[in-house]
């Protein structure tokens, strides 16, 4: 009876008024709460308890409330530091490199409008994946938080120039690049004054040429022209022999050590280049390793002037194409495409899609590219919209718990009592 009385009192007594601050969770009726705030603010301050970032529309409303004078703060309940950026790869076959920032230990599920694509395990700040197609937006889900980025801008691919001597490496490197879709201009020396030429390899200009691949040491004049091209913004790929060209040695990311023989005889699918001998690269200060083998750098890159220079330690990759497994020709093509893409000059022709957080608007979620920012880097967006979160030690109001209305509970209890009473009367029980 006491319980019944308490319940009845609870159902009839007026609700307590919020005192100064009201809290709401993301996903816990935020839209309705904002509707109520718009009609009649129940408290002075709205505190958002966020474990994920609200969708762009709600975030915009929160920002609008804030600008309208309502104190809106938020408490960081573990919003994952997640962002996504897409960049087009300089590869005729297309492809997009997806860079996803996510906390270690989480799982990234990559998808596009046509379905899931892959799952990544982030390490050291995130993970990247090379996607074969990049014509549509890409979504990455990290726990409950999703980030999205639209298709990146398209690239205008120039020609490649391959310089070297007639030989298997030059033949099969050109073949791989052409089969990949590159337009290759080439000059291959056969004898003094006699060269096999394709296209117009002499015209080294970023208006026409994306990168120069130097497979053998060049005469001094040619080396100087190639160096000038690289410094002016062009890409440069150096083989071990090519890096020995005096004019290019200064641009090379590394010095070469003595040649190391192949680690294995057979080309394994997982690590085919272990079956190639290579010249280990000793990096210069500003160079970055791109590929390592047994603790030694096999490919490296650095910026030289406005251009990019990639040096590879392999001199006979053709053996991989010819002697590898069934996938070897395709893998050889893909590897050379990656080498060239890492150096190639990449002029953008399309409009910016705003996928990169750093380029997307001024952080205002309402204007400009703010919506894109909110989708691509939601944590950054909530900082932009609501400012820094409340300090961790600050008191936060407890959000209202969902509960059964006390009137309804009292009714149920009353009905049960009546049933019990009726039952006793019918049975003649006391």
């Amino acid at each position: 009876m006491l319980l019944l009385a308490a319940l009845l009192w609870g159902s009839l007594a007026p609700a307590p008024r919020a005192r100064g601050r009201s809290a709401v969770r993301v996903g816990g009726g935020l839209g309705a709460a904002l509707d109520a705030w718009t009609a009649a603010p129940p408290a002075d301050t709205l505190m958002l308890l966020a474990d994920t970032v609200p969708v762009a529309r709600l975030l915009a409303r929160l920002a609008a409330l804030r600008r309208a004078g309502t104190a809106v703060t938020w408490a960081d309940g573990g919003v994952p530091a997640t962002a996504i950026a897409l960049e087009r790869v300089a590869d005729p076959e297309g492809g997009v490199r997806a860079l996803v920032a996510a906390p270690p230990g989480t799982r990234i599920v990559l998808a596009d409008p046509f379905g899931a694509m892959d799952t990544l395990r982030p390490a050291a700040g995130g993970a990247s994946a090379l996607l074969a197609s990049g014509e549509s937006e890409v979504r990455a889900a990290v726990g409950a938080q999703s980030v999205e980025a639209g298709a990146p801008e398209s690239l205008a691919l120039r020609h490649l120039v391959v310089l070297g001597r007639a030989g298997w490496e030059s033949k099969f490197t050109i073949a791989a690049l052409e089969e990949r879709g590159w337009t290759v201009d080439a000059r291959l020396a056969v004898a003094p004054g006699i060269e096999v030429v394709q296209g117009t390899p002499a015209a080294l200009d970023t208006a026409r040429t994306a990168a120069v691949v130097v497979l053998d040491s060049l005469p001094a004049a040619d080396g100087a022209r190639v160096a000038a091209f690289a410094l002016s913004g062009g890409g440069l790929v150096l083989s071990p022999s090519g890096a020995r060209t005096p004019a290019l040695a200064a641009l090379a990311p590394a010095r070469q050590g003595p040649e190391i023989r192949a680690a294995t005889l057979a080309f394994a699918s997982a690590s085919p280049r272990r079956a190639l001998s290579f010249f280990p690269l000793q990096l210069r200060g500003d160079a970055l390793p791109l590929e390592a083998r047994d603790g030694r750098v096999a490919a490296a890159a650095r910026r030289a002037g406005a251009g990019r220079v990639v040096e590879v330690g392999y001199e006979e990759t053709w053996r991989w194409r010819l002697g590898g497994g069934t996938e070897a020709p395709e893998a050889h093509r893909a590897w050379w495409a990656a080498v060239v893409a890492s150096a190639a000059y990449r002029p953008v022709t399309g409009r910016g899609a705003g996928s990169a957080p750093g380029r997307a608007g001024d952080g205002d979620p309402v204007r400009g590219a703010g919506a894109d920012l909110s989708r691509a880097a939601p944590r950054a967006a909530i900082f932009g919209a609501l400012g820094a979160p409340a300090p961790a030690g600050a008191p936060t109001p407890t959000p209202p718990r969902p509960r059964v209305p006390s009137g309804l509970a009292a009714g149920i209890v009353l009905a049960l009592l009546l049933v019990e009473w009726g039952s006793r009367r019918l049975r003649g029980a006391p």
Binding site: A166, W168, K171, L188, I194, V196, S241, E316, P329
Partner: protein
């Protein structure tokens, strides 16, 4: 770079080593006219071994029937599909001979159909210019073999590029002499080999 190695195909059937002086002669020719890196001796490479894929240019000759086994066929198919060039010469110089019939059958079955290579194909201008197509050999002129002077070489083409070059001209005999004897010729009759090698290395 290890340079060009002249490889002679070693197959299970037939006399694959019927032209033992050709490799040295061609190596001499390559060095004599080009600055290509070239190994001073040739090698014999079994068609049925994975070693084949270390030599993107392979020379095959003989008199006897050429019957490849399945391993040799599979290797040759892969070799051609990956860009290797097989240069076959009929040492019999005889289109009705057993070598020609069996070898062309094997090539057709394994790599693809052999077609007449037009005499203005880039092969004939890859280094020296041969206006009239493949140079005629003394064996043809003297009526040896099938009494024919063959106007064309045959080839299996992939996207316009030669995968298999087939000759009935008996270059194996024509070039089968010690390279030191080359100075006795007013015109070096092995110059066409330079075109074949340069073509293989650059196309």
């Amino acid at each position: 770079m290890s340079g060009f190695v002249f490889a002679t195909a070693q197959y299970e059937s037939g006399d694959w080593d019927s032209a033992p002086l050709v490799p040295a002669n061609i190596i001499d020719t390559i060095a004599r006219y080009t600055q290509l890196e070239v190994m001073p001796t040739g090698v014999a490479v079994p068609l049925g071994s994975a070693e084949l894929f270390r030599y993107p240019f392979v020379f095959l000759t003989g008199h006897l029937p050429v019957r490849l086994n399945e391993t040799e066929r599979a290797n040759l198919r892969t070799f051609a599909s990956r860009g290797g060039l097989l240069f076959v010469d009929d040492h019999n110089h005889d289109v009705d001979g057993a070598f020609h019939r069996t070898c062309t059958e094997e090539i057709t079955r394994t790599v693809g159909p052999l077609v007449d290579l037009p005499n203005d194909h880039p092969l004939y201008s890859a280094f020296f210019r041969f206006e009239n197509g493949p140079p005629t050999t003394t064996h043809e002129l003297n009526g040896w073999g099938d009494n024919l002077v063959h106007k064309h070489l045959l080839a299996v083409l992939r996207d316009g590029r030669i995968s298999v070059l087939y000759s009935n001209k008996d270059y194996s005999s024509e070039w089968g002499y010690h390279p030191e004897s080359k100075r006795l010729y007013s015109v070096d009759n092995t110059r066409f080999a330079v075109n074949v090698i340069v073509y293989a290395l650059t196309r």
